[in-house]
């Protein structure tokens, strides 16, 4: 059986196209941040009502944090709007569903603060010291990809869709 696979599909127009400019890479990461919400299930107690917003917390300032507001503006996850909150510090009382820790801030403290809470922690592997975030951005073959620590997600009471797991570069499976 001869089959012709059409793989060269308008690659030029893709955001993951060869040699993306730096600013594009950050925009993609910022977009991914809120898009993760589509594939994550929080426990019901995490939201007050079905239309309560998804709280996207950004800790610190870096190139990604700078474009998050722009990327998430007006986006909806089902009936929930995206609410971006810029924080200077994270405590156990902070209401976050997704927490992005900027590359210039050590992540361990923030991660410890939300340990055991249903918060999807996201960070970038380009940082100096790696923490224990659930999702870690990584650039491979000029494409923005990510690793997922599903075991950590399970500890936090989050369920990550297998669709998202299938896209991850590596997955640390839940026990």
């Amino acid at each position: 059986m001869l089959a012709v696979c059409i793989t060269a599909l308008a690659q030029a127009s893709q955001v993951t196209a060869a040699a993306p400019p730096e600013s594009l890479e950050y925009a993609v990461k910022a977009t991914f941040l809120y898009k993760f919400a589509n594939f994550v299930n929080w426990p019901p107690a995490a939201f007050e009502t079905p239309s309560s917003p998804v709280s996207l917390c950004v800790l610190g300032n870096d190139a990604v944090a700078a474009v998050v507001d722009q990327a998430a503006a007006g986006q909806m996850i089902g009936e929930r709007p995206i609410a971006v909150r810029h924080l200077q510090a994270v405590s156990a009382d902070s209401t976050c569903h997704i927490l992005y820790v900027a590359v210039n801030i050590p992540s361990a403290e923030a991660e410890d603060a939300v340990r055991g809470k249903p918060v999807l922690t996201v960070t970038d592997t380009s940082r100096a010291t790696m923490g224990k975030s659930i999702v870690s951005f990584v650039v491979q073959d000029n494409r923005v990809r990510f690793d997922i620590d599903d075991a950590q997600a399970a500890e936090s009471g989050l369920a990550i869709s297998s669709k998202l797991l299938s896209l991850a570069r590596t997955v640390r499976p839940r026990p």
Binding site: M1, L2, A3, V4, C5, I6, T7, L9, A10, Q11, S13, Q14, V15, T16, V28, F32, K35, A37, N38, F39, M76, I77, G78, E79, R143, S161, K163, L164, S166, L167
Partner: protein
């Protein structure tokens, strides 16, 4: 010919019936085929739709995160389904992200077509939206090839072949059934005819039995008639004896004498003898059904000695040679009748007088003229005129007689013959013109443990 003409239309009707059912079966086959085709199309349509949904769900994340490579992996996996001709995955903006097309077929469209599903040119087209979290994130496009018409025809050819075979079998078995029914009907009518003729035959046999019974009785009465001359004479003699004794008695009583016992005894004896005689005639003439019983022929002949002597008269001498002591099975009354008839015939053959000999004898198998073992022979022999060979041949035919009108019915010997054959016996006539006739009745010996002695 008439039967054939009446059968023809029925055969025509059943032939057209068979044709009709064959046609309707073929029609049913075509309808079933069309229905199957419809089902097949609907099923394939649904199948492709489901595959589109699965593909959409699988590539949703890849579309959301612009992961064309992963989307392409999912699309490539679809090639395992040989029915799929082409597939495409489109992002939210309608751009094609991944896809495949088999060689010699059109590639999936560059831009996402409008969401729709339809069948055209023997192909199923399905364009489905890809939803994630309630929002459309892209679309998938599938194109599947239905079986070629030729292949489908081959598939349905099986059904049509089966239906045709069914029609053939029905037709053949139907005509066989028809032939069987026809043969059965013929047999049935034959059986009915046979039963009817059997009934008719039985009725005729009953009629005949009645007639024979009446004939036997009339024959007996004829014998009585023949006897009556001699009997009247005897009876007169007996009355004379009684009358003479009574006259003598009257004279003795008038004289006052007492030696009258002799006359009383004589008169009494005469009365007793007359009574016996009438008793015998009455017994003889009584109408009785045939009831075969073991009978000793010698004893039977001895018992009717008186009657025989009265019937043949004074001019004929009777000789008895009764040597048989084996029993035979027959109706005693009828046998008496037969012997008296033969005796009367013998008397008639000897108008100038002669000797009538009645013999009985045992015939062991070595001497027997019967096919089956022992028998008893009874012969009535006269020294009369005898018969010519021609007359002898005809002697047992009904209504054949050589006697003048009013003297005989021509049924005597005929009935005797019938009776003897009925009792499993045989009748032999030997005669010589001018010398006399001997008629022999052969009866099979009756063998049993105990034989009643009374006759």
């Amino acid at each position: 010919m008439l039967l054939g003409e009446t059968k023809h239309p029925r055969r025509k009707i059943s032939a057209s019936l068979a044709l009709l059912s064959a046609l309707s079966l073929i029609l049913a086959g075509v309808l079933v085929t069309l229905y199957e085709e419809q089902l097949y199309r609907a099923q394939k349509f649904q199948e492709i739709g489901v595959q589109g949904q699965i593909l959409g769900a699988s590539v949703a994340a890849a579309l959301v995160f612009n992961d064309a490579k992963t989307a392409q992996e999912y699309v490539t996996a679809l090639q395992a389904n040989p029915e799929l001709e082409a597939a495409g995955v489109y992002d939210e903006a309608g751009r094609r992200v991944a896809g495949f097309a088999r060689s010699d077929t059109d590639p999936p469209p560059e831009r996402a077509p409008a969401v729709t599903s339809y069948v055209a040119n023997n192909r199923i087209y399905a364009v489905l939206p890809v939803n994630q979290g309630g929002a459309a994130v892209g679309a998938v496009y599938l194109r599947a090839n239905l079986d070629s018409f030729g292949r489908r025809l081959v598939r349905y050819g099986g059904i049509i072949l089966l239906v045709s075979m069914g029609v053939l079998v029905l037709t053949v078995s139907g005509s066989a059934q028809r032939a069987l029914t026809l043969a059965n009907t013929r047999l049935e009518s034959q059986a009915r005819q046979l039963a009817a003729s059997n009934l008719k035959l039985q009725a005729e046999m009953q009629e005949r039995e009645k007639a024979e019974e009446a004939l036997r009785q009339s024959q007996k009465m004829e014998a009585i008639g023949q006897l009556s001359g001699g009997i009247a004479h005897d009876f007169n003699n007996l009355l004379s004896i009684v009358k003479g004794n009574l006259q003598l008695l009257q004279r003795r009583v008038a004289q006052g004498r007492t030696d009258i016992q002799r006359y009383l005894d004589s008169a009494n004896e005469g009365v007793t003898r007359a009574a016996n005689l009438t008793q015998r005639i009455l017994a003889f003439s009584r109408r009785q059904p045939l009831s075969p019983k073991p009978v000793y022929l010698s004893q039977l002949v001895a018992n009717i000695d008186d009657l025989l002597r009265h019937s043949v008269g004074d001019t004929v001498r009777i000789e008895m040679k009764l040597n048989a002591d084996w029993p035979v099975l027959c109706d005693a009354n009828q046998m008496e009748n037969v012997i008296i008839n033969l005796a009367i015939n013998a008397r008639d053959a000897m108008p100038a007088g002669g000797t009538l000999t009645i013999e009985t004898a045992n015939h062991p198998p070595s001497h027997s003229r019967m096919p089956s073992g022992d028998c008893v022979a009874l012969t009535v022999r006269d020294t009369g005129t005898g018969m010519s060979e021609e007359v002898r041949q005809k002697a047992v035919e009904p209504f054949f007689t050589t006697k003048p009108p009013g003297r005989g019915t021509g049924l005597g010997l005929s009935m005797t013959f019938g009776y003897v054959r009925q009792s499993n016996g045989d009748l032999i006539i030997e005669s010589e013109l001018g010398k006399g006739t001997a008629i022999t009745i052969l009866m099979p010996r009756y063998v049993t443990e105990s034989i009643p002695v009374n006759v």
